[in-house]
């Protein structure tokens, strides 16, 4: 079986909700039914075959070609299989994802991996703001799984994050790890202002000294035993995080945000 491939015919005029095109919903559907699936685009409903040329049959291996930043909700609540996006993805990529894998060979919009529960998302370009965050008004962001960003991430990475790993090879914007409840965010590049703002618990693992709020306190330099194990768990990734040369266990530890619960930590490589 070949991958079930959706090739975008034309740039849509409005944003498109692609949440119906996930592995678990397409498994067992005939090509005719898949072609007839209705996708919301602005205030209109479009047939899937109006937007995409559809080929292949393996619904556990979905490929979206010619993708643009107007395709939202790709892989929403995905429970199994793999979705590969050739091009950019819009907002809410992998929202509430429960398992499986999403690979984006391009950039993604805001709220990628928001409220994700399990599985893996690999973004080979840049990620927009609110990566792994909670939706507006909600109190829990990402609850599990791993997000790997090979480029840069926007502002508010991991806002309200509860569990899981966000790995960023590039830079992260302002308010990285804001209001985090737990989990791990690792940034190999630089971070913006207000790193760890209102952080309650959780770990920010940084390669560069951040601009921390005054409410983070220096806890000194330490050798932490869990770090080699954490890095070892990244071994299977196609990433700089899997490179043994990138690993370390010696860090400067900053505790905070003392204006909040103060049980979070920012670990900076030394």
């Amino acid at each position: 079986m070949t991958a079930l491939t959706f090739t975008l015919k034309l740039e849509p005029a409005q944003r498109v909700d692609l949440s119906p095109l996930v592995c678990q919903k397409l498994t067992g559907l005939s090509p005719v039914k898949i072609a007839a699936l209705e996708l919301y685009s602005g205030k209109r409903k479009l047939r899937a075959d109006e937007l995409f040329a559809i080929e292949g049959s393996d619904a556990q291996d979905i490929v979206i070609k010619n993708s643009t930043a107007k395709l939202d909700y790709i892989g929403k609540e995905l429970t199994e299989g793999q979705i590969t996006v050739e091009g950019d993805a819009g907002a809410y990529l992998g929202q509430g994802m429960k398992n499986g894998t999403i690979i984006v060979n391009g950039n993604t919009g805001i709220f990628s991996a928001c409220e994700m529960k399990k599985g893996q998302i690999e973004i080979n370009g840049n990620a927009g703001d609110f990566l792994g965050a909670a939706l507006p008004g909600n109190k829990m962001g990402m609850k599990g799984g791993t997000v790997l960003v090979k480029g840069n991430a926007g502002e508010r990475v991991g806002d309200h994050m509860r569990r899981g790993n966000i790995l960023i090879e590039g830079n992260a914007g302002d308010y990285c790890g804001s209001r985090m409840t737990a989990g791990t965010i690792a940034v190999m590049g630089k971070t913006g202002r207000y790193t760890g703002y209102a952080m309650r618990r959780g770990t920010l693992l940084l390669w560069s000294q951040p601009d921390l709020p005054a409410t983070f306190n220096d806890c000194g330099s330490h050798t932490l035993a869990f770090l080699p194990m954490l890095f070892a768990s990244f071994k299977g990734f196609d990433s700089k995080f899997a490179d043994p040369a990138a690993t370390f266990n010696r860090v400067r530890r900053y505790g905070g945000d003392m204006a909040e619960m103060g049980r979070g930590e920012v670990l900076v490589r030394i």
């Binding site: 899981g164 737990a182 791990t184 932490l224 035993a225 869990f226 080699p228 768990s233």
Partner: protein
């Protein structure tokens, strides 16, 4: 059956179902991992009074441990799951958490997890940090030497306890030398521990006593100084008897350990004063696992 002049009695060891777990202790170096493991498995020779039977399974090099440091694998056996969990937790809390540079990890997977560091985390007084790494939960507990890293749970499995054999020799030094040789070989077998001091017990017991308060008492049939005044099981030339008790994850594991142990004793043979190998049982009425010596050595 006679091997190298040593008579293998036509009898069997009788063993019982137990619950077991395994934990891996690591430290800055093997010395400190071993110190912690020895503390954790101390006072754990027999469930009769210790609450559990525990021992060091083997030393692990840094490539075999979760955190890449030298380590020691320890196993704990108890009569029930609740007792096992309590013993594991108290021993981990008092002997591993307290031991400099130590970390503690699960050494066995099962569908019945029991707390390892799950409750020890409260020692952190709210400063403890949870990390889920590779699907497993770990706790980082701040302590005065840095951080105590522990996995939240380990596994509980069904196991077998009380496999044994007796070494009957012409003198005490010869009995001990034979047992030492046996233990050295048996320690190479995975999934088993020999919980008594140095793996050897010199005070084997029988069920019951003339004193009502005692459930067990000295095995007078194998006491050489009582040969003339009790219903002895010893021939005149036997001057010393020592026993090796084995707990293992499966009957097959104990079979293997008994085989290599008895073989090591027989290799010394009659020329070194070893006369017989026997075993302790209760007539086959109490324990469902029977280890027939002659079948094992066949």
């Amino acid at each position: 059956m006679i091997i190298n002049g040593v008579t293998i009695d036509k009898t069997f060891a009788e063993a019982f179902p137990m619950k077991a777990t395994r934990a891996i202790i690591t430290a800055q170096n093997e010395k400190w991992a071993m110190i912690s493991a020895q503390a954790m498995t101390g006072f754990a020779t027999s469930v009769i009074a210790c609450g559990c039977e525990a021992g060091i399974e083997r030393v692990l090099d840094s490539s075999e441990t979760p955190d890449g440091r030298p380590g020691v694998s320890v196993m704990i056996f108890a009569m029930g799951g609740k007792g096992l969990a309590k013993q594991l937790e108290t021993r981990a809390g008092q002997c591993v958490l307290t031991s400099p540079t130590s970390a503690l990890f699960s050494g066995i997977d099962s569908d019945k997890p029991i707390p390892l560091g799950k409750n020890l985390r409260y020692f952190g007084d709210g400063f403890q940090i949870s990390k889920v790494i590779g699907g497993k939960r770990y706790w980082r507990v701040p302590v005065m030497d840095g951080e105590f890293l522990t996995e939240a749970t380990t596994g509980q499995v069904d196991a077998v306890g009380g496999g044994n054999f007796l070494v009957l020799a012409e003198s005490q030094p010869q009995a001990l030398a034979a047992c030492e040789a046996a233990i050295e070989e048996m320690r190479k077998i995975p999934n088993v521990i020999m919980p008594f001091p140095g793996g050897v017990v010199r005070s084997g017991s029988k069920v019951g006593s003339k004193y009502k308060a005692l459930g067990a008492s000295t095995n007078d049939a194998f006491c050489p100084t009582l040969k003339g005044i009790t219903k002895t099981d010893l021939s005149p030339e036997i001057e010393s008897v020592m026993e090796i008790v084995i707990d293992g994850l499966t009957k097959e594991d104990i079979d293997k350990a008994m085989r290599v142990g008895i073989q090591a004793v027989c290799d010394l043979g009659a020329a070194n004063g070893i006369k017989r190998i026997s075993a302790g049982n209760y007539g086959g009425k109490l324990g469902p696992f029977h280890f027939h010596l002659q079948e094992i050595m066949a």
